[in-house]
């Protein structure tokens, strides 16, 4: 029995639109731990998630999860999956307890078993004190937790979470990470985000999606090796006479300049910038830099030259 998620040439074209929301996406990863799919808005993350969660038919291509065909055996797969869709909201006239309980009933649990599991999962997410407050009274972060509590309480061993932390404040988001990494220990968690630090923190494997294409996939270390530079410098503007001998200069839509380079060159540039009094930061290459670099490389290869803006918030 294969314990893998395999996609083969998955393509999606919506209705009579011409653009491909997904463009021949193929990959194969072990179906365990946390997989984080990163990409800008509109890159096709939700489309891929909805196809894999049997909510949307692909235009062509195929996918299997643990040997179950997503397109041909949806019933069989639905026994094992659970999802929190992007922009899902807990129903305002219900309480967290009622929300989790009813979800479990939908999964076919008996009332007594559903009650037991609901209490357990609400406790686990520290929602115990709010269990019987109406959802509409809860903060954005707590509302999101209620939804995660539903899938957490279920028996599903494949969990899809589509941008679960978008819109949360930085502190709530960090709290959320503990919950997510907890889920990922026991079940295969397929997570999407456009926060790169989130992927860095949580992911066992990372996929980068841009304009419907999967431009890279691998562990953080593997992705690091796609790029031969190890330092990233950021400066608010680029001095006209600055020369970069061994490195890559990336300019974002915001005018910020990013230089990816090797150690020796980084120190040389630093000295030069200090001399001229230009302010800058220097850091080891992060996922953010890798994303920036790979996405630009891909769009240059494609020849559309669309400059990408800041990839982070």
């Amino acid at each position: 029995m294969s314990v893998q998620l395999v996609c083969e040439k998955l393509t999606k074209i919506y209705g009579n639109r011409k653009i491909k929301a997904l463009d021949s996406v193929s990959f194969s990863i072990p179906s365990s731990g946390i997989f984080v799919l990163i990409g800008r808005n509109g890159s096709g993350k939700t489309t891929l998630v909805r196809i894999l969660a049997t909510e949307l038919e692909p235009t062509s291509g195929s996918a299997t999860i643990n040997g179950i065909d997503v397109v041909k055996e949806p019933q069989k797969l639905r026994e094992k999956i659970a999802i929190v869709p992007q922009e899902a909201r807990p129903i305002p006239w219900m309480t967290p307890r009622q929300t989790v309980l009813s979800y479990l009933l939908w999964r076919g649990f008996s009332v007594s078993e559903a009650k037991r599991r609901a209490t357990e999962s609400l406790e686990k997410l520290k929602l115990g004190d709010y269990s019987d407050t109406l959802n509409r009274m809860l903060s954005g972060g707590l509302k999101r937790k209620v939804l995660v509590a539903t899938v957490l309480s279920s028996e599903a061993d494949i969990i899809f979470l589509d941008e679960p932390t978008t819109g949360l404040d930085p502190i709530s988001r960090r709290e959320f990470w503990d919950v997510l990494s907890e889920i990922g220990k026991k079940r295969f968690t397929f997570l999407t985000t456009h926060y790169l630090e989130e992927a860095e923190q949580l992911a066992d494997r990372i996929g980068i999606l841009d304009c419907g294409r999967l431009i890279n996939i691998g562990t953080l270390d593997e992705l690091r090796h796609k790029i031969r530079y190890n330092y990233s410098m950021k400066l608010l503007s680029r001095p006209p006479d600055l020369e970069v001998k061994d490195g890559e200069v990336l300019t974002g839509k915001d005018g910020q300049t990013r230089i990816l380079t090797v150690e020796e060159e980084a120190f040389r540039i630093s000295r030069e910038l200090s001399k001229e009094g230009v302010k800058f930061t220097i850091n080891p290459v992060s996922l953010d830099d890798i994303f920036f670099y790979l996405v630009r490389q891909e769009s240059q290869e494609r020849g559309d030259g669309s400059a990408i803006g800041a990839a982070t918030e």
């Binding site: 365990s32 049997t54 999802i83 479990l104 076919g108 078993e113 899809f160």
Partner: protein, 255 residues
């Protein structure tokens, strides 16, 4: 990773239907009790109006009208509730990606609409018990008319919900449909009250046929056997026909 089959829960269809009834009816009534008052008042308000205007002579007809309108708006309610749960809360997506199939989901939501109307139906049933004179067969026939009315309007609601435009999904639209089909046609009074050329307009609404049958059953009007047969046939045809349209159009998994 793989959990052996015997450890999987024995999924209960009853639970799956109960989930829909709780979410779409019980919890809302329990957590917002004012909803209860509203569901009771809306079919009663018209009834009271008609009874006053007719100085009591149309009481029986208006009670039947209230019953028909309750069943009709329960069915039509399916349309706005399905859209609401799907688009605003993404609940339908969560259910699609779960072991609940579409038949169970729809059945659950349909039952929840009836449950939502139970307070009003109870009040109307009590009124009917005191003010309508019906034989046992008449009671059965009236229940059949009401059930058919519910199925027909559910088919309309279901069909409408498969059109995914913003207008169709708006709350105002479902109110409009409700008004067109229940307040304008002669649900609360005999069709003979409508002057002649306009009477044909009334026959565009399925509620007219249900009302005609109900009024005949309780003896407020006298229909020929042919007319009775035609009325039944039309109600059945609307229900069956629209269910077939909805079935072919509705998609559980989107394309």
């Amino acid at each position: 990773m793989e959990v052996p089959l015997e450890q999987r829960p024995n999924r209960s269809r009853f639970s799956q239907i109960l989930a829909a009834v709780l979410v779409n009816a019980i919890y809302e009534m329990r957590n917002y009790p004012v909803v209860l008052v509203n569901t009771v008042l809306s079919p009663l308000s018209f009834l009271i109006l008609i009874v006053f205007v007719s100085q009591g002579s149309l009481l029986g007809v208006a009670i039947e009208g209230g019953l028909i309108m309750s069943m009709f708006s329960s069915g039509i309610g399916l349309q706005s509730d399905l859209s609401h749960l799907k688009n605003d809360f993404k609940l339908q997506d969560m259910v699609v990606s779960s072991p609940t199939g579409w038949q169970t989901y729809m059945l659950g939501i349909a039952i929840s609409e009836i449950v939502y109307s139970l307070p009003a139906l109870t009040v109307l049933a009590i009124l009917a018990y005191y003010y309508l004179t019906l034989s046992f067969a008449g009671v059965i026939e009236l229940l059949a008319v009401l059930l058919l009315m519910f199925l027909a309007s559910m088919a309309i609601g279901f069909t409408l919900s498969t059109f995914s435009s913003d207008i169709v999904q708006s709350f105002a639209f479902s109110r409009l449909i409700s008004t067109l089909f229940s307040a304008v046609p002669p649900v609360y009074y005999p069709i003979t009250y409508i002057p002649m050329p306009f009477r044909y307009l009334a026959y565009l609404s399925p509620t007219t046929y249900a009302a005609e049958l109900a009024q005949d059953i309780a003896g407020y009007i006298k229909l020929s056997t042919t007319m009775v047969a035609i009325d039944w046939l039309i109600l059945i045809a609307v229900a069956v026909g629209l269910f077939m349209v909805a079935r072919s159009k509705a998609r559980w998994r989107e394309v």
